[in-house]
Subunit: 556 residues, 2 copies
Amino acid sequence: MSHYTIGIDYGSLSARAVLVDINDGKELASAVYEYPHAVMSEYLPDSKVKLGPDWALQHPEDYLNVLRQTIPSVIEKSNVHSSNIVGIGIDFTSCTIMPVSREGKVLAQYEKYKTEPHAWVKLWKHHAAQPEADLINKIGKKYGFLSRYGGKISSEWMFPKVLQILNEAPHLYHETNSFLEAADWITLQLTGNWIRNNCTLGFKALWDEQHGFPEKAFFKELHPDMENVIEEKFGGEIRKIGESAGPLLQEWSEALGLSPNTKVSVGNVDAHVSASSSKVVDEGKMLMIMGTSTCDITLGSEKKEVEGMCGVVKDGAIPGYYAYESGQNAVGDIFDWFVRTYINQTYEDEANLQGISIHELLEKKASVLKAGESGMVALDWWNGNRSVLVDTNLTGLMLGMTLATKPEEIYRTLIEATAFGKRRIIDSFAKSGIEIKELYACGGLPHKNRLLMQIYADVCQLEIKIASSLQAPALGSAIFAAVAAGYYESLQEASDKMASLKEEVFKPIPENSKIYDQLYAEYIQLHDYFGKGENDVMKRLKKLKLSILDQQTIHA
Amino acid sequence: MSHYTIGIDYGSLSARAVLVDINDGKELASAVYEYPHAVMSEYLPDSKVKLGPDWALQHPEDYLNVLRQTIPSVIEKSNVHSSNIVGIGIDFTSCTIMPVSREGKVLAQYEKYKTEPHAWVKLWKHHAAQPEADLINKIGKKYGFLSRYGGKISSEWMFPKVLQILNEAPHLYHETNSFLEAADWITLQLTGNWIRNNCTLGFKALWDEQHGFPEKAFFKELHPDMENVIEEKFGGEIRKIGESAGPLLQEWSEALGLSPNTKVSVGNVDAHVSASSSKVVDEGKMLMIMGTSTCDITLGSEKKEVEGMCGVVKDGAIPGYYAYESGQNAVGDIFDWFVRTYINQTYEDEANLQGISIHELLEKKASVLKAGESGMVALDWWNGNRSVLVDTNLTGLMLGMTLATKPEEIYRTLIEATAFGKRRIIDSFAKSGIEIKELYACGGLPHKNRLLMQIYADVCQLEIKIASSLQAPALGSAIFAAVAAGYYESLQEASDKMASLKEEVFKPIPENSKIYDQLYAEYIQLHDYFGKGENDVMKRLKKLKLSILDQQTIHA
């Protein structure tokens, strides 16, 4: 008799559930639920409260409706008996946080708070806490923990967001019983247990297995009221991903049509959970989760400092290993920017005639070009640089254009630029003694764009294997659920049985790699010149731009 | 009773004649003739002879048909009595040259030579004599004359083209009685007089009023057969622009319906002749002839060396002054490249809805932006750098792009880049003690694009006046004809009466200029870094590109 788990992947605009056979990882059914409130960046729902620039909120009820809609749906579609469903796993975007009451509700769920912006869920891409992040980075220098994060943290993380609440809505800060990651809030709802997962604590909340949270003096220096923030607002038990958070509450088992014995695994993050479903369960491998941006997960047996990494957390992706996170702020987003905005009717017509998308047409045309043939090179900083330089004020650069430069040349140059960015990250790891011997990829892009994969292989001079599943995070959550439910001894074992790779492996073509060595040398020279202080033109231009936009706002 | 002159402007694809009242410059009639053979870049006419890459030939009969078609046409349209037409003036693209027989015919006009590519007219943009130009620049270093040309000459000029004929078709070189500029060939046809104009000799044929042509030793070093090239192939009298080349031959006066007393002025160049019709007849002014590229004419009372200028010639534009030429290889061409290739259907639809062109729509959208608001800067080297750096191997650069960058921001950044290029040229003149106090503009672009003019004024911090005539070269030729016919004492006097400027003057807006000072400083830092050897990435990429394209040719 087969057993099954359900993995639920909470994304930025929708969530997806898959029901999986734990023997072989076969996906029997899936269901998607789009959040009715999507991302709230201008107004609160049902109110006239306007939000500031760079805000991004979400509605907690949307998250609960995901459970109510998708779980019964996959059970019904798969025709599996609910008693054979042994576990549920959750992964979430991160760092997505909310202020939670003693009753386990988000403050915004109370009538009295619903017109207060700070009572709502702050989505990962809420970028309005930059001043708070700057302060943490400044004060944090004295306290040592920043070395685990490449020297700098992002405004997206837990404490900038918490400090913003305290600064702008102190009464809500004080009303809050607990600031929770959304992943942990879902497991709280399902199990009634206040459990925090070690992955988001480590990567986004400055926590470390060895050192715990930063010391009181640090928090006091941030804000006098925050001295005891850990004791006051960060209670609950810390458990590792892959462990169980407990069985399903009776009320949910009834609502969802599941057995009350169903185990809920500890919450996880969309990127990190994908290592298990991409067979990245030991050293020497880097997993690239490729979409609008790219997040990389690399496993290591030792804790090392890597230049400009996003973070390193013990047991942060696969128990038994340190998980290193790195990434690129814009990958698919850059190609989309170009394709959405800069492709003319002639190309549109050509794509229509061939019955393919513009992306496919450009891929086709760019595939005919040889490496180096366009005479161009670009810096992939359209959305800043996340790893190595860790600088959101850097911007894109392209050079080598002539009057004969064609769209497919720009398209290919943009792809190459992101590949060079990837190689630069791999080089950082190598310098710290962490050698990457193979690349793995999952996400939408690797399945869609063969040229992209070939260029990455040629540039990085590494083979690339691709996860079979198009739902790597949801499948990953289902794998973690199988382990939490006790059906496998280890994540490695579960991954071995439940995950699979596409047969096709992208291998470097030596002739191309040779040319890309030359282009990469050019990339590095530009990368260091514009990124490491020799010419800060990008930052000066951005500052000028912001000062002009500020003036316009004042005059408006 | 009024008198009239006819100015004929020979362009790259067509010629235009205007019939003008010499009292006030009023244009009574105009006519255009498109060359039936246009530019021959792949095959000779009526033959299967294929041309090499970068060739550009023209048909001499097309030039004669211009006279036969346009002159009777403007006489008829204007209803002027032909006895009142006192002069004809000619200007031509340059350096456009042909091998001419003792009888005054282009060799290609003889049956026996017509299948030989080197027997035809080489248009200015024939770029197949680059190896010959390289040799001249190498050997020329020893002989001093290069300092009049910013240190380097172009493959477009007279002697690279002549040497190419000698190298590749020596029998034709030896058959040639005279290598002529096309402008001088037309005056030869019309008057029977072998006269060379000082302007093209000075700017394109290494001649100087003070020093004459380069010495024999130089030519001998170029090629032993060229030792006596000047005596053998460069006969004829040198006359200054503004002088008469003689009266019309009887046969032409009959064919065209003109009086045999009609004076033909010495041939001239399209750019240089426009100084007179744009009221640039004394010092302190720079005229920009703006179209696909920009050519600048500046007058000075002394001969000075200006960094990277194209050339300086005494009496080369307005008698009594040294004429300095400078320019930018691509201006309108860059905007066209962007607009032709990178504008999507949404913008097309918006332009159609408003009943305006895409260029107009972009101008409109870009006009709403503030200087500096886009956070971008570009180097305007899409077709190399003609003045200051004098390097065709430089390529375009743009930086500051984000995922939100819009087409109108790129469009405006490209305009700004060409304006910075212009300011850099003006700075070179200033460094050599030639101060530009006012800008003048003629050509298609200044009439079409107000934003362009305003940005140039803001960036250069100079007022810009625009020639009224849309046919500045043809009107200029008519002005020169009036002087040659003896109706004015000087070009200054003729220009004063016959030329006019648009009422609207573009004045710098101090608020914008202040921001452009900052952006220009960034431009200069990038200009020097990429253009003066600190980082030769553009040249290395171009070399790599050419080596890859070469391999493809070999494999094909």
